[in-house]
């Protein structure tokens, strides 16, 4: 990014996340102070079970923080109504869709709901936004298909198009390449990178494709069981935060290659 000034768009302050179970608090992670900058492609990485999904759910107000605060554009996220939030951030989740007969176009059009009237009527502006989203994600040939006819890779691009059509500054994707092969995983990463560059949107993903993220994203949030750090990919690498991400018996972070590699048997 060649921006002279970098603005933060999401910021957390002494955030503690987890679940409130009657009188007991189940703390998943605490002391979270991270920043996500405007118009960056950011990846949230960490091993299984460390709380990535809980953090994303808290950042998107699906779940309440145990303590501390999340700020969206310098305003506490609790001050946003769900309706207001719908015009600020859009989501691509890992939830499967119920079996319906929605077409790809209709599915993407649902992204316009925050702007449509009570009967969901699409205005010219809505249609042009939908078509723009379809072009950006290169799915024009799929637009009249039923969504259940699509492959996983195609469906993921449709879900991204739906988020684009929602016309929000921030798009948050939970493991967008979970079921995809290598080719389609790259395709999604490159698409997201392109979208950040061409549209100036802020994109945050959680992912297990760490090597790919190291190669392609602007910023990283590294989540470990006792600490969490965010910053530019290079800075994170320099800070040696990745060395202790996994137990060292199988994988090791290779600083020269800037990739994780499998330990060679001696």
């Amino acid at each position: 990014m060649n921006k002279t000034t970098i603005h933060s768009i999401i910021k957390t302050k002494d955030l503690s996340i987890g679940y409130q179970q009657k009188k007991q608090q189940l703390i998943v992670a605490k002391n979270i102070n991270i920043t996500i900058n405007q118009a960056t492609f950011t990846a949230l990485i960490g091993k299984n079970g460390v709380g990535k999904s809980t953090l994303l759910r808290t950042l998107t107000k699906v779940q309440q923080p145990l303590s501390g605060n999340v700020y969206l554009k310098n305003k506490s996220i609790s001050a946003y109504s769900h309706k207001e939030l719908a015009t600020e951030l859009s989501l691509v989740l890992t939830d499967g869709l119920p079996e319906s007969q929605l077409t790809v176009f209709e599915l993407i059009a649902l992204g316009r709901q925050p702007y449509t009237n009570w009967i969901d009527k699409l205005q010219a502006n809505d249609i042009s936004k939908i078509n723009w989203a379809i072009e950006q994600t290169e799915i024009t040939h799929l637009k009249d298909k039923k969504f259940y006819e699509l492959s996983d890779g195609q469906l993921q691009r449709v879900m991204i198009a739906r988020a684009l059509a929602q016309d929000t500054e921030i798009i948050i994707l939970d493991e967008p390449t979970a079921h995809l092969d290598m080719h389609h995983t790259y395709k999604i990463f490159l698409l997201l990178k392109k979208l950040v560059a061409t549209t100036g949107k802020t994109i945050l993903i959680s992912t297990h494709q760490i090597n790919l993220a190291l190669e392609l994203v602007d910023e990283l949030i590294v989540m470990k069981s006792n600490s969490i750090a965010s910053g530019r990919t290079q800075d994170i690498i320099e800070s040696n935060a990745l060395e202790t991400l996994f137990p060292k018996d199988i994988l090791r972070f290779n600083k020269t290659l800037q990739q994780f590699t499998v330990n060679k048997k001696n």
Binding site: T60, E106, P114
Partner: protein
Amino acid sequence: MNTHKTYSKQFVILTGLLIILFILNISVGSVSIPTKDIFSIILGDESIKNSWKDIILTIRLPKAITAILIGTSLSISGLLMQTLFRNPLAGPFVLGISSGASLGVALLILGSTAFGGYFLTSTFSSWSIAIASSIGSFLVLSAVIIAANKVKNTMSILIIGLMFGSFTAAIISILSYFSEAAQIQQYIFWSFGSLGNLNWNELSVLAGISLVGILFSLLIIKPLNSFLLGENYAKSLGINIKQSRVLILLITSLLTGATTAFSGPIAFVGLAVPHVAKLIFTTSNHKILIPATAITGAIVLLICDSIAQLPTSELILPINAITSLFGAPIVIWLLIRKKKLYV
């Protein structure tokens, strides 16, 4: 949502079919009246035989209109339940809502003898039956929803609905055991289902409630469509999930409660008709599906009622038997042919 293609062809054909079936339905019965004279009677011609006029105006016409209202209401209820629970097997019956209505009516008719016989000699007005039925269906539906919020698993919700069904059935058996034969008979006849019991006053009450329910269902097209993505996406689109859920449940209990009150528990229409509509219109967009389901429901119940008449015979079969007799094979056939049912 953009509908992209137009569905006017299907709508025109179905509306035409509805009109033809409506006329056919009025024409069949134990007394044969020429269609030409039926039109004259409806248009207010005084020169037609009085007995014919009575048959048409006090029996056949209210019954045909009842069939349309009830077919429409139950089918829309089923559609709403299928979308809310994101389960193609949901419907007023499966979720125990109709059992709730039955329980309400049973408590009123049978409970009066079981609990001291204060009302013993009174016959119950359609009003009190309607209210008892609506309260019953609303209570059971609320219980199902509270349970649904706790378990979140759709399969469990359906099982919970079935359990409520057997629970209410058990209470009804106990009530019957302590009731007088006359009350039991009144309740059993109510539970057979009938479209022919309504006079014009009761019909206008049913029509009022149905229209309110149907109009409200049009107001929730947007949340219904967003539910097609699942609740998390719906929430991220700014939809107020709790409020929408309560609205859907209120509309469903209003429609199911009112229809069950006036015509008894009519099986299978609520479950099967939305699938027939989804098959004909191949869409999940509720802007299309709600009117489509409404028309299809009216058509299906008119057909069932015409069959129940056993044309040219004096006999009228219970409507409930006919809907199940045809509903069950239709659902099986849909499943085998399409291999899949959609929400």
